[in-house]
Amino acid sequence: MTIEKYQQEAKGYTMTTVMAEAARCLLCHDAPCSAACPAHTDPAKFIRSVRFRNFKGAAETIRENNALGSICARVCPTEKYCELACTRTEIDCPINIGGIQRFVTDFEQNANMDILKKGPANGLNVAIIGSGPAGLQAAATLLTLGYGVDIYEKNEKAGGYLTYGIPEYRLPSDIVDVEIQRISNLGANITYNVTVGQDITMAALKADHDAVIIAAGASVAKTLPLFADNPYVQSAVDFLAEVKSNPAGVDLPTNVLVIGGGDVAMDVDTTLKLLDVKNVTDVVYEEFAEFKASDKELAGTQKQGVTIVDGYVPTAVNGNTVTFKHRQLNSELTIEADKIILAVGQQADVTNLGIELENNELTHGGFHTADPKVFVTGDLAQGDKTVVVAVQKGKQTAEEIHRVLGGQN
């Protein structure tokens, strides 16, 4: 097994090719791309800056609007947001906005730019539980507004799914580490290996802070009763975390069966292929027309040669042999695999955090909980569960706290 392919990010733009892509942009009057970005990263403005060779200005636009600009550049399903709205599509194909954003944020890093500045201290402190994208963005926004921020992270590294989930070829750890370092430099105090509700109580957090944000995400793998206690089964999140932490140390067999059809399943599929697993078969509940994975992820997975079978649901499991039935057709499928990876979703674990969830999110919109001092953001708040929407929610939660607390001494 070789890990080079898994670790190799696709080539980005050069100074010349990024200018070619920026020159394709029509620089629209009303900029539908910017209107379509949940995080308000303002692609119309930063692409125009690139077109006029103001790369530093472009980096400021991205960074000031999106504290995870380099991460979103790589993992945002842009075809659902800015690129879906792009007017250029009516001529040929949309501008590669993610690609331009990646170039600009790489430029920012190479130029050692330090764009976000800590606001003058207002004497107020906020605790944030979880350091995934929503928690990190909330921290960045609060810090620029002058708040003190303490982040409590249950793992030994920050980033949540960015660090432990998204595979290296799609989001290199170095990029995530730098983004977290920026927020750390801004003044975020991150405590690692601490589970709130277990190692420290909510009451203690509330006593020491003016507000608490629960940004714990949906980090626990769901399973299916059929697969309980099956030694051949591993969850997708566990598998991805294991590979991300030590790709060379993972021992993989020849035949792997994956069950699931979201972006996480696609990440698992592609990762397996890049790690030279010969036969990767992914059986998916949804049919292609109703697929949850983004087009980009699906296309990438198919390009790697993964066999994807759509519309089947598992009905019987006997050790490493799984039988599926088609949801509509009279059709049965039995697959024997050396390893089975379940990518059937994640759930939240908010034990002892004092909040009620339904289907892993608040039962109402917004970020408030019954406790006026406690807020919820990220996957636990209603809305899309993508990274860019997590950034949006993190920003909005911070702004809401600022509104409630007034931000004054």
Binding site: T16, M19, L26, L27, C28, H29, D30, T87, E90, I91
Partner: protein, 415 residues
């Protein structure tokens, strides 16, 4: 594949096609010129030959380019002077070229330092077999101020040196003009008075293409310094066409034989130079960027243009556009042409709206819901900036409207 006769007679010499290498780095030795002939060029202006005692010592690096977005070579800056090979070697190359390619046109570009050397050089290149002489009165980057464009801006010197060349050789001779002058007609007339048979125009434009922002030095940097030098390529085409038109428009120069030079890359560029009065054409920058092989599309494209125009001889096209360039005060100012916006072609980018407001006359309104522009015919002055900025050609010339109180009918206007 189309086959048309592209041959043309220029100053008494027959060219199989009008395309020549201009005197420059692209025609610096036998091997280069031979390859260009082999690939189909009709003529070669061998890189300018100077007197034996004038030593050429070039800098490194010596070029720079102007870019726009991702487009390279919008313009090109060159610091090379004249041929750096010894005089005898250059003359030997001319001899070999004429022997190997007797049916191709060989033009010797020369540059003297005084009347005597101009005269001597003219005699030498004739003896070496050249068919024609081009006098380089225009190189803007010579290390001697008695040579190059400093001479070309001095009509008395131009005339004197033309007379000297004519004394030295019986060959047809054209004088190559510098654009670093307000009125090219003056040196052109001086050269004709001195015996020149035609004019080559234009040489390069004195320039600084870029400045290194950290080091505060123009490009290219030579040991911490740079120098003004000649600019060429697509960006100078409009300047070349203007000078050529002005010469052809001058009294007494109406039939001036011209070899057109300045940013020719495509057959369309070539046709423009021909329509404004050029009989032959010279190319360097496009060759430096793409190689001699561009001759294939220059010749083939020009043949198709001749076929479309129903023309059998290229000479029929020479100068056809000259009479259609008239002084600004003689243009018809009685009407305006409203733009017509095709909403089916429009993709709603709003670039016309922005340019009309910020750069024209605030005559376009915008429907935010449908993302479509509308022209207010009263505010619109018919400038057509909107048409030029539209990325999908959705805007064209529409209704012709007479200005209030003017005589005549809109239908009679040739828009």
């Amino acid at each position: 594949m189309i086959k048309k006769d592209l041959s043309i007679d220029f100053m008494g010499v027959h060219f199989e096609n009008p395309f020549c290498l201009s005197s420059s780095p692209v025609g610096n030795c036998y091997e280069m010129c031979a390859k260009a002939y082999d690939e189909g060029w009709g003529g070669v202006v061998f890189k300018t030959i100077g007197p034996a005692d004038f030593e050429i010592d070039e800098v490194s690096p010596r070029f720079d380019e102007l870019t726009k977005e991702d487009t390279p070579f919008v313009g090109f800056k060159n610091m090379e002077q004249i041929a750096e090979h010894p005089l005898e070697e250059n003359l030997a190359d001319l001899r070999r070229l004429k022997d190997a390619y007797p049916n191709k046109v060989l033009i010797a570009s020369i540059m003297g330092t005084n009347e005597q050397t101009w005269e001597e050089l003219a005699g030498m290149v004739e003896a070496a077999g050249a068919d024609m002489i081009e006098m380089n009165l225009s190189c803007p980057q010579m290390t001697s101020h008695a040579m190059g464009s400093d001479v070309g801006t001095n009509p008395e010197l131009c005339k004197k040196y033309c007379e000297a060349v004519k004394r030295g050789s019986k060959l047809p001779m054209m004088a190559k003009m510098t654009p670093n002058i307000t009125d090219m007609v003056i040196p052109a007339k001086a050269c004709m008075a001195g015996g020149a048979d035609g004019i080559a125009a234009i040489n390069t434009v004195k320039s600084i293409a870029n400045v290194d922002l950290d080091r505060k030095i123009g490009l290219p940097i030579i040991n911490g310094k740079s120098s003004i030098s000649g600019f060429s390529g697509k960006a100078v085409k409009p300047l070349a066409l203007r000078f050529i038109q002005q010469m052809r428009d001058a009294e007494g120069l109406e039939n001036l034989p011209i070899s057109g030079i300045g940013g020719i890359e495509t057959w369309e560029d070539a046709a423009e130079f021909i329509l404004l009065g050029s009989s032959t054409l010279q190319v360097t920058t496009a060759i430096m960027q793409y190689g001699y092989r561009i001759i294939e599309d220059l010749t083939n494209g020009l043949m198709h243009y001749m076929a479309e125009q129903g023309v059998e001889h290229l000479s029929e096209l020479v100068g056809l556009a000259n009479k259609n360039m008239i002084p600004a005060e003689k243009l018809d100012r009685d009407y305006k042409v409203l733009p017509y916006i095709d909403w089916d072609k429009c993709i709603g980018c709003g670039r016309c709206l922005i340019s009309c407001f910020d750069g024209a006359h605030q005559a376009i309104t915008w429907d935010e819901a449908t993302r479509r522009p509308t022209v207010d015919p009263d505010r619109c002055v018919g400038c057509h900036l909107c048409k030029l900025v539209c990325p999908v050609d959705a805007i064209s010339a529409g209704e012709v409207v007479m200005k209030a109180g003017r005589v005549g009918t809109a239908a009679s206007k040739q828009i």
